[in-house]
């Protein structure tokens, strides 16, 4: 089985978010970039397929050279090779078109992408690559088994979960649950050394125009200070929620 894991290069979850150039650009100053958490769950599940079922695992990212340390980390975790599409990831459809091209050229059986990236939160790339390639697609996937060309996947639905069967080629939008947080791997020294020798191929983008653009950004309005209620006066809290906040 040939697996491709799509990797987004995103600010660490603890990052403070700021903007520059008249609130038109994300301020990367002092920001640590990591593998998108939803992609990391998918990468770890791909490692499981590699170790238990002999799958090969490639990783791909659409981005400039600054994203290569993130791809190298994925190689250190155990991916066999990496592809960087040399383009700035402008919007969801542009990224999806680049990935669809990589998928079609690579003949992948299974493509694992995170259900969304934690930066722009579009939540559209996995579905768009499925739409572009015609592959079967399961979103918000929290469990995946593959037997030959048959796949059984569980996806999270509002208020529960649903188990489906389908066939390869398959694209999933994955998330926590594909593996547990405790199963995530930290690259060891041997992995880091080996990653230096693994192939990281840079390919030029295929055509594809963006259909959206972020014109400006803004941060949420500053919050007023909290209204503290004495622990011995819970009546007041109920009254505030009813009369002031009007939520009960």
């Amino acid at each position: 089985m040939k697996i491709l894991v799509c990797i987004s290069h995103v600010p660490d979850t603890t990052s403070k978010i700021n903007f520059t150039e008249g609130d038109t650009k994300f301020d990367t100053n002092g920001v640590q970039f990591v593998i998108n958490p939803n992609d990391e769950f998918g990468l770890t599940r791909a490692m499981w397929f590699k170790e238990k079922q002999g799958a090969s695992v490639d990783v791909v990212n659409v981005g400039g050279p600054e994203t290569e340390p993130t791809l190298r980390k994925a190689l250190a975790i155990g991916a066999d090779s990496a592809i960087r599409v040399n383009a700035i990831a402008t919007d969801g459809i542009f990224v999806a078109k680049q990935l669809a091209s990589v998928i079609e050229n690579g003949g992948y059986d299974l493509v694992i992408a995170g259900r969304e990236s934690i930066d722009y939160n579009g939540g559209m790339v996995p579905g768009m690559i499925a739409g572009l390639t015609g592959a079967n697609f399961v979103n918000t996937c929290i469990n995946l088994e593959v037997d030959g060309t048959n796949a059984t996947a569980t996806r999270e639905i509002d208020g529960g979960k649903e188990t489906v069967t389908t066939s390869l080629p398959l694209i999933i939008g994955g998330q926590k649950g594909l593996v547990e947080e405790s199963d995530l791997r930290i690259p060891n020294m041997r992995g880091i050394m080996m990653a230096r020798k693994k192939p990281l191929t840079v390919v030029e983008p295929t055509s594809g125009e963006a259909q959206t653009k972020d014109v400006t950004f803004q941060k949420p309005a500053e919050k007023g200070s909290v209204k503290l209620v004495d622990a011995d006066n819970i009546d007041e809290l109920v009254s505030l929620l009813h009369n002031e906040a009007k939520v009960i």
Binding site: P37, E156, I157, D214, L228, H242
Partner: protein, 322 residues
């Protein structure tokens, strides 16, 4: 030209989000000086949509669509949009709508903006405000394609009544064999519990509750309020509660009217997940907990004393206001 809205139903009955997206579609249609067409899939009675400004309803009834199937549903919506010459297609942010929206967008060669929180600030260029960086910021996003797809954030617009005389038409989209390649084997859904996605109120517990055996009071508080229960990331990582209840950057976002956090300190990733909730209440014994800076109301105290009191007072309040 029209605005098309997908009004989601479950077992024939519209979900509340269907009325919210219809309300929003009407506002967008007013800006564009056009009409709203709704597509329903196996809804039993579409007359309820009239109250929310829908001018025309396309009712797709098809036994093959009894269970949700993203590819087939997306194809039906795409065909409806093409038939109606829709320039804007609007969907909700339910798990199912988020599943099918990108497929609709690709099918229509349309730009897609998700997590939209307001009506367009401009229709030429078409610009919408959406949450980004997991609610830590907003982006004003321009959609440059001819057809636009919008995913509306839950609770962002609310229900707005706009009486209209909706014309009903039956609609029969055509499907290919590949549209039904995903086969549902089982559905595991708690039907008697309020879900985080649908809840107006969410009661959430953190590590301060010390163990899963203490969740009874969280569930009781949720029951009194008609709320959903949720938890912080450490709690789901420890296996005290299922991952489906984990709220935060790698869990679920919550956009409820009221979010009550008990024993949750307020890590930046958790706060990002609840930023869209309107009113936040925090109960924590540590007055320095970062959550107090993000909350509207706070109680510094032992959850094991405060929560039972709150349950009791809310029961009294309910009895008086019944």
């Amino acid at each position: 030209m029209s605005v098309l809205v997908y009004t989601e139903s479950e077992q024939g009955a519209f979900k509340k989000v269907a009325f919210e997206v219809a309300s929003y579609a009407k506002a967008v249609a007013n800006q564009l000086d056009t009409t709203v067409t709704a597509i329903t899939i196996n809804a039993s009675d579409s007359s309820e949509l009239k109250a929310y400004g829908v001018d025309k309803v396309l009712n797709a009834t098809n036994a093959q669509l009894d269970g949700f199937n993203a590819k087939a549903y997306a194809s039906a919506i795409q065909q409806a949009a093409q038939q109606e010459n829709a320039t804007v297609v609007i969907l909700s942010s339910s798990a199912n709508s988020k599943y099918l929206s990108p497929l609709v967008a690709v099918g229509l060669n349309a730009g897609f903006a998700s997590n939209v929180v307001e009506v367009p600030s401009s229709t030429a260029p078409f610009t919408v405000k959406r949450t980004t960086f997991t609610n830590k910021a907003f982006s004003n996003t321009e959609i440059t394609s001819d057809v636009k797809v919008i995913g509306l954030s839950k609770n962002a617009f609310g229900l707005v009544e706009n009486s209209a005389s909706a014309i009903n038409e039956s609609f029969s989209p055509s499907f290919g064999d590949n549209d039904f390649n995903i086969n549902v084997q089982s559905v595991d859904k708690a039907t008697d519990k309020v879900t985080i996605a649908d809840a107006e109120i969410v009661v959430s517990g953190g590590r301060g509750l010390k163990g899963p055996e203490n969740w009874g009071m969280v569930e009781e508080l949720a029951e009194v309020l008609g709320a959903a229960t949720a938890c912080s990331k450490p709690v789901s990582d420890l296996g005290w509660r299922p991952h489906s209840e984990h709220v935060g950057q790698t869990g679920k976002p919550v956009a409820s009217n009221l979010y009550i956090a008990i024993g949750i300190s307020g890590a930046i990733q958790h706060l990002a997940g609840i930023n869209s909730s309107k009113v936040k209440v925090v109960v924590n014994s540590d007055p320095e907990a970062p959550f107090f800076k993000a909350a509207d109301y706070g109680v510094v105290g032992d959850a094991f004393e405060v929560v039972p009191k709150l349950i009791e007072k809310l029961k009294e309040f309910k009895a008086q206001n019944a």
